[in-house]
């Protein structure tokens, strides 16, 4: 009888002992975009096999949750990138704040009041800020202080369907596509492409709320090639009527007038269109390189005769290109306990240590200078590795950069889809910029 009573007591004691010894779980929230792909990567921990932004991000979180020694659980909060900042704003206003959040460096200027300064934090986490590339350091530094851990540098590229370029006779002796060096040359190449293949030279997605960034990134790149700025007279008043601005809009006007650019395509239509050979050049970012390489490896596909990529071409004076950076911020109030804050730093360090995995799988340029040489050895990356040296972005003093990107992109879409002239687009952008900067 005594033994029968003792047994459950012993089991209970063992249970308490186990619980006392086990470290309590620390959950931290991790707000990000980059898509959701649990179907493909839900349980994967093999980062080397992960492809694309979503694959790498999901696998990294899986790996961290499975292997960290501190019993930390990272809970991803995945939001579509289009409305990401709108939702983050609402969450900050409602005090529902994530522990760690992804942020484009271009947005940091608007958020410095709401995210922690990281100079000391990075040191505490064991992250060496001296290893930041100059581009990445500049991107996360506002008023001399670091507000985010840079995760990459990304930029705008031309992706080439080499088969169509061969068909149009627009290749050099090595069979590589000829990249235009002026707006006139671009139009001449586009004309030749249309005559020889019947297809538009440029594919660009211009329809749908998430696609407006495309036109803005092209506009910025051609503006920067001319040494231009939309804020020549201080950051509180934009000027879209400078010769450089009109010329940047003008390239799109010429392309649209002559039907050298696709009209009315959304993001998936543009991507699918390029994969199916509806046009010769696809304007999109560094993050698509691996997807297109994989597509070109499939026999019989539209890219099977060759795919390559180049930096967004300089049509004017000096090579420059739009760049931005994904980065990680610690929103103020996101770490509710010291344990959560410590866990956030452990996870940031883990991400820092896997920056190359992100660059390899996600396609972006690494934010660590020490990884650049290895990055350049990846397929086609030799063509993009120089981007950080001449990449440009709006200064952090410019408020509402997300609004500007959207508005400029809409006006480029209006040129492409609605037949606006460059001057009309500049007029509209000018008027809308006043409304955009009216708030605080």
């Amino acid at each position: 009888m005594f033994r029968r009573a003792l047994l459950p007591l012993a089991a209970l004691g063992a249970l308490f002992a186990t619980q006392a010894l086990a470290q309590p779980k620390t959950e931290i929230t991790f707000a990000r975009f980059f898509g959701a792909c649990e179907g493909d990567y839900g349980t994967s921990q093999d980062v080397a096999k992960a492809r694309g932004e979503c694959g790498v991000m999901t696998t990294l979180v899986n790996l961290f949750n499975a292997t960290n020694k501190d019993n930390i659980v990272v809970k991803p909060q995945i939001i579509e990138w289009g409305p990401y900042y709108q939702q983050l704003n609402a969450r900050i206003a409602a005090k529902d704040i994530p522990t760690i959040a992804v942020m484009h460096a271009a947005q940091l200027g608007d958020y410095t009041r709401y995210v922690e300064e990281l100079d000391g934090v990075l040191k505490e986490a064991g992250i060496d800020a001296a290893d930041f590339t100059p581009n990445a350091r500049n991107a996360v530094t506002v008023g001399g202080k670091i507000y985010a851990m840079p995760w990459d540098t990304h930029s705008w590229l031309w992706h080439f369907n080499v088969g169509l370029f061969k068909q149009a006779g627009l290749v050099d002796a090595q069979g590589q596509p000829l990249v235009p060096k002026s707006a006139e040359e671009l139009m001449a190449h586009a004309k030749q492409m249309k005559e020889k293949t019947g297809k538009p030279y440029i594919i660009m997605a211009t329809s749908g709320a998430g696609d407006f960034a495309n036109g803005a990134r092209g506009y910025y790149s051609w503006l920067y090639d001319q040494g231009g700025s939309i804020f020549p007279n201080g950051y509180e008043k934009a000027d879209f009527h400078t010769p450089a601005s009109l010329a940047a809009f003008g390239v799109f006007e010429q392309l649209a007038k002559n039907d050298y650019i696709t009209k009315g395509l959304d993001g998936s239509g543009g991507l699918g269109g390029f994969m199916n050979g509806i046009g010769a050049v696809y304007m999109t970012g560094t993050w698509r390189i691996d997807d297109f390489l994989a597509a070109s490896a499939k026999p019989g596909g539209a890219l099977s005769e060759g795919y390559t990529t180049r930096i967004f071409p300089n049509l004017f004076k000096n090579q420059a290109v739009w760049t931005d950076n994904h980065s990680w911020v610690l929103p103020k109030g996101g770490s509710t306990t010291p344990a959560a804050r410590k866990a956030a730093l452990v996870f940031l360090k883990f991400l820092w240590d896997h920056n190359f995995d992100w660059a390899r799988g996600g396609g972006h340029l690494p934010s660590r200078q020490s990884l650049m040489a290895d990055y350049a050895k990846l397929p086609l990356r030799q063509y993009v590795v120089d981007i950080p040296s001449f990449g440009r972005a709006l200064p952090h003093e410019v408020r509402r950069q997300f609004g500007f990107q959207n508005m400029i992109g809409e006006e480029v879409a209006n040129i492409v889809n609605a037949g606006k002239t460059a001057a009309q687009a500049a007029d509209a952008a000018q008027e809308r910029s006043v409304a955009l900067l009216r708030g605080r």
């Binding site: 409305p83 900042y85 709108q86 939702q87 704003n89 609402a90 900050i92 206003a93 608007d110 958020y111 009041r113 709401y114 329809s207 749908g208 709320a209 998430g210 696609d211 407006f212 696709t262 009209k263 009315g264 395509l265 959304d266 239509g269 269109g273 509806i278 509402r400 997300f402 609004g403 959207n406 809409e410 879409a413 209006n414 889809n417 609605a418 606006k420 008027e431 809308r432 409304a435 955009l436 009216r438 708030g439 605080r440």
Partner: protein, 294 residues
Amino acid sequence: MAEVGSGIGQSRWTNALFVAPYMLILFGLLIVPLCLGIWLAFQDYDMLGGWAGGVGLENFQNLLDDRIFRGTVRNTIKFVLMTTPAFVVLGLFLALALNNALRRSGILRTIFFGSSVLSVTIVTLVWRLVYLPDRGLLANALGLLGLPGVDLVTSQVWALPAIAIVTVWWIIGLPMTLFLAGLQQIPPELYEAAALDNAGRWRTLTGITLPSIRRTIVVVAVIEVILQFQLFGQALLITGGGPDNTTRPMVQFIYEAGFRDLQLGFAAAASQVLFALMLIAALAQFWAGRRQGA
């Protein structure tokens, strides 16, 4: 007996407990936010930066001066004018056609209502594939007929009607169901009497059916006006407000001003304009409905 019935008709404070849960929700989730919204419309309120004092009518003045906002008011009214009559006429037509006990009518009623349960994301995804230039269902269908493809979503004339078509396809089920309920309230004796008088189909429709469901028609029209003034998801996901702002509705403007550009006061002012428009349109329909009934 007198003691038992003495409480009836008497006012006791405890009676209020029966309506208290509803009133709490009404005040907490409707009246208070409504009043806050009206107050916000006269303030300089940044979503992240907080409150910086009252600005009087400045937000409304800025709205008046804003060409994009004026465009959204035009677009929204146009959209309501396109869709509401379509919902009433098409909903009534479907209800009349399917108001019987036949098995196939039951199946068709389910099919027509079925699309209403889909989310706006799914609906717009499907219709984007229909409208896709060159390779979409519409382009392919026209191609089969030997006709040139049309690019509806990039046309400044056709983009808004294209969104109206999506909307009608999506939620025609609700007006149809309301009309079916109305039709089933009509006493069958009226139709029997009309048949005895040799009334034709048209005469029966105009003499019995339509007068009998007059209130349902007003209800459907008012519901649709209120719903369609709130156009947002379809426009955002199909055209993003383009081309050249010809499909940007007021709610998208409010969303962008408040959540993207952080100008909550300005966005609240735009919300009040939308509220006023909806109120005027709904009251006008009620008034017209009552006058006809008088």
